[in-house]
């Protein structure tokens, strides 16, 4: 199946453009999440063998499980939290991949002059830019979700083993029967894509910078907003700009809240919370700004030859 996805037979420009992005960004799209997944699984196994126990939020797994039993709160939520937790690191790393891919998306092709080769082909700048945007905001996250699922399934198995080895409880009762794969899948997909929608203006800003930056798009992408924030602080004594940026990240639902109450996480609640943030007008104002920046990328690429 993978080979039919990654080979081309005949005229299929959109597929060819996506494949081109895949070949170009293999490291960000595939290698990075694969390595992180491998490391997470490796360290899970190591900690299982050494028996030192994985500690989460300052407490060992034993304590969490004991907690669940003694409070007689839904042990499903606690177990789910334990299973979801290791995959968070994957999503953190992948978000960096997204930033770097966006920053290089329209810059590298000018730097290595390959833009002239791409432009010698009958594909429009609009198609190119939209495929690049979709690579960052859809392809990278989707593949990350695939790897997250692998981590979560592994975590479940390891947790079950851990319970079977270290406690008297039945691994089936305590762990496996408490896992709702549908809810996990939903919690992998919904919050991630809602969050991407929230930060879309920032991702498209990175792409816009990469479309016109002459030297380092990375520096420009961060220095310009910092200067703007400093300017605002000095001359207006306010931090409105920083607040707006921050508001894109402080999401409507958070794992932390549940941790503090010791309730574990209810994945369905979290997904619903994220979905309800879709009615926030500021989300859609940001999306319009993102669309304007993408239109800017297309216009600039039309004029771009090489740096």
């Amino acid at each position: 199946m993978f080979s039919t996805l990654t080979t081309i037979n005949g005229y299929n420009p959109i597929k060819a453009l996506f494949l081109k992005e895949y070949w170009d960004n293999k490291r960000a799209i595939l290698a990075t999440p694969m390595v992180v997944t491998g490391l997470v699984i490796f360290f899970s196994i190591v900690s299982l063998i050494t028996g030192s126990g994985m500690t989460i939020d300052g407490a060992s797994i034993n304590e969490h499980l004991a907690d669940a039993e003694s409070h007689s709160i839904s042990s499903s939520n606690i177990v789910t939290m334990l299973v979801m937790f290791p995959s968070i690191i994957l999503f953190i790393v992948v978000s960096f991949s997204m930033v770097f891919t966006a920053l290089s998306s329209l810059f590298d092709e000018r730097k290595d002059k390959s833009i002239l080769f791409w432009k010698s082909m009958p594909v429009s700048d609009t198609q190119e830019v939209l495929v690049k945007l979709a690579t960052v905001t859809v392809v990278i996250p989707l593949i990350a979700i695939g790897f997250a699922l692998i981590i979560q399934i592994f975590s479940t198995l390891i947790l079950g083993l851990f319970v079977a080895i270290n406690t008297d409880a039945s691994a089936w009762n305590l762990v496996f029967s408490n896992i709702n794969l549908g809810a996990i899948l939903m919690a992998d997909i919904v919050p991630l894509f809602v969050k991407i929608l929230w930060v879309l203006p920032i991702i498209t800003w990175f792409m816009l910078v990469s479309s016109f930056s002459r030297r380092s798009p990375f520096l420009l992408a961060f220095i310009a907003p910092i200067l703007l924030a400093v300017f605002e602080m000095v001359f207006f004594r306010s931090t409105l700009f920083l607040q707006i940026i921050g508001s894109r990240f402080t999401s409507k639902a958070d794992f932390r809240h549940s941790f503090e109450n010791g309730e574990g996480v209810n994945l369905v609640d979290i997904s619903m919370n994220y979905l309800s943030s879709l009615t926030d007008p500021s989300l859609w104002i940001g999306t319009i700004i993102a669309a304007i920046m993408i239109a800017g990328c297309i216009q600039i690429r039309k004029r771009n030859n090489i740096t």
């Binding site: 005229y11 494949l19 290595d112 009958p122």
Partner: protein, 285 residues
């Protein structure tokens, strides 16, 4: 004759610099046109305008398209290899073939693979691991497998060794060119292309200085190597230019009959590079 490219009063400026000024060009089906000029003369700007890679003022029609706004349509029928190596280093040979097959409706994979088979290019290598000559060969194989009406080559043999340059043009003429196609070539190495051209355009300071068919050029311009004792008589015939090299004097004549010149010495054709120098230095003095 079917017109493929027509430019009328084409202008392009970068700030105060006038890269193209009132360029009028007409290129037809079946021509091989040499676009010749020094660095910064406007060759690449003119080519970029034709390929839809830059904006311009004036009228430009390429195969019925407005290149700047319809580049993606135009590229189905126009191919180009630009003067800089443009295949990205990260792409594998196999992937490059697949990509072009995917985005180009007129690409013939068998033909590309056949051309690649004649070379020593490994399919699994990345472009960054190929030699400069191999990269040009790969690019040419990809482009020659596209059934296009216009092929634009901007300094195609730059940086290639002499052995490969020759096969490059042989292959271009033998395997690719036919009456249905038009090729535009820019190069510094005028001598290596003059035998394959049908038409020649000289450009300087953004202006077209000369635009004629090779046939016309050869019948109009001649060099006379006069016999020692008839140098003064030859000079009296009002040559266009007098050339001295290694102590030998020769004269460039414009529009003179070979027969009338023959009595003063040996008449030969004027090479394009000498014509270029003749026209450009004549203008300057």
């Amino acid at each position: 004759m079917t017109n493929y490219i027509s430019a009328k009063n084409l202008n392009k400026s970068f700030g105060k610099f006038q890269a193209l000024s009132n360029v009028n060009v007409s290129i037809n089906k079946g021509q091989i046109v040499g676009l010749i000029g020094s660095n910064g003369a406007g060759k690449t700007t003119l080519i970029n305008a034709i390929l839809g890679l830059c904006s311009y003022e004036g009228e430009l029609n390429v195969l019925g398209y407005d290149p700047h706004t319809q580049r993606d349509q135009l590229m189905k029928e126009v191919c180009f290899i630009s003067d800089v190596a443009t295949l990205p280093g990260w792409i594998k040979v196999r992937e490059a073939v697949q990509f072009v097959e995917g985005v180009h409706p007129n690409f013939n994979r068998e033909k590309a693979l056949g051309l690649l088979k004649q070379t020593s290019i490994p399919m699994d290598k990345k472009v960054s691991k190929l030699s400069k000559g191999m990269i040009v060969q790969l690019h040419l194989a990809l482009i020659m497998a596209i059934d296009a009406k216009i092929l634009v080559l901007d300094e195609p043999t730059l940086g290639l060794d002499i052995m490969y340059r020759k096969t490059f043009y042989d292959q271009l003429l033998g395997d690719y060119f036919d009456e249905e196609r038009t090729i535009i070539i820019t190069t510094h190495q005028v001598d290596e292309i003059e035998n394959i051209l049908t038409d020649v355009i000289f450009i300087r300071d953004g202006k077209i200085m000369y635009d004629a068919s090779m046939e016309e050029t050869l019948s109009t311009w001649k060099v006379l190597d006069p016999n020692k004792d008839s140098i003064d008589e030859a000079r009296a015939l009002a040559p266009y230019r007098e050339m001295t090299s290694l102590g030998r004097t020769s004269f460039v004549f414009k529009g003179k009959d070979s027969a009338s010149l023959k009595e003063f010495g040996t008449v030969s054709r004027l090479s394009l590079s000498d014509l270029f120098v003749t026209l450009m230095s004549g203008e300057q003095s």
